[in-house]
């Protein structure tokens, strides 16, 4: 497992450094496409190039197949965790802003009805997200208003199904 851990972690770190380098040059808006390309497609491409160049026997003479498979699994879950967590990096947490707003009133606390979270606005919270949904083609807009596309309906259905599997009723409050 030593080889698997070192290989898997090193692979993630290498991909992460490439991700940082690209982001510092120009941060792409289509990060849901770029991140999987960097963390999954790029290593796969490198492996294919190595194999096609006849490097496979050399690689397997140094590292056994089990370690490669275990390293790949570790890289997959760490990278997936990072990509999911990235949404929390660029989408500021309203919960954290609420807590910061309450903290400014400590130790005396703040009345529930007097709580103000000035760091967040309707446009920043909702308007921006509507634009994301439209540019992702999950929502379309016409003279009658907003409606879901087929992809948008699929997302809602997938969420409902997953919550049913998890034993959680209804939809969340957002």
């Amino acid at each position: 497992m030593t080889t698997a851990f070192v290989l898997g972690f090193a692979l993630f770190c290498a991909c992460w450094l490439i991700h940082v380098a690209i982001w510092r040059i120009r941060r792409p808006a289509a990060y849901p496409l770029w991140l999987p390309l960097i963390f999954y497609a790029l290593p796969l491409l490198v492996v294919l190039v190595v194999i096609s160049a006849g490097g496979q026997p050399l690689l397997l003479s140094r590292v056994d197949g089990f370690s490669i498979a275990a390293a790949a699994l570790l890289h997959v879950v760490i990278s997936l965790s990072y990509m999911c967590g990235y949404a929390g990096v660029i989408e500021y947490s309203p919960s954290a802003e609420i807590l910061r707003a309450v903290r400014t009133h400590m130790p005396q606390g703040v009345p529930l009805e007097a709580l103000r979270v000035d760091s967040l606005t309707d446009e920043f919270l909702v308007g921006k997200r509507i634009r994301h949904l439209r540019s992702s083609r999950l929502v379309r807009s016409d003279a009658t208003g907003f409606r879901l596309t087929g992809a948008g309906e699929a997302v809602v259905t997938a969420c409902r199904w997953y919550r049913a599997v998890l034993g959680v009723t209804g939809h969340g409050r957002g």
Partner: protein, 183 residues
Amino acid sequence: MNVILIILVAIPFAVVLMNAALNRAARRWSSLPGPHTTPFVTGALVNGTAVPLLTFASAQPGDGIADTLFGSLYALSYVNCVVFLNWFVFSVTDVSMHVHLLVEIHRHGTIRPEELHALYNKSAIIEARLPRLLELRQLRLEDGRLYVRGSAVLLGARLLVPLRRILGIPPRPQDAQDPATAH
């Protein structure tokens, strides 16, 4: 060694099933934690079972302390990434504003922008989060006043600031609302 690979592939399914069992038990016995807490309980249970199992299963005759340590590190990293993903996917279905907007539009079929804004806006978003923060013990409500209780959410938010700086992302929302720096 194939057994280890089978265990690794099985862990995500076990995590989801364990979380589902806890949620169903919580619905039956209301004294148990709610759906925002069960992912963490699941995480604790999985760490207590899968990590020792993996560490033990991966141990080879002649392994030194360093090999055992790396085996444990592998198990801890893998299991806790899976635990995080389990929590994350549930959170997306429950607290994601994107998903909630999709659900509201789905409910209405077609909805005008002003109607959508009346249903889901900054106030609604804050109101939805207060019960969760109380359940997660990040806030305390006493005599109609809110107090900060826990620090986990704030610590998590603080940890993201250096990562944002490394990636060239504005560290706080008020910095990102400047169009020159917004994503």
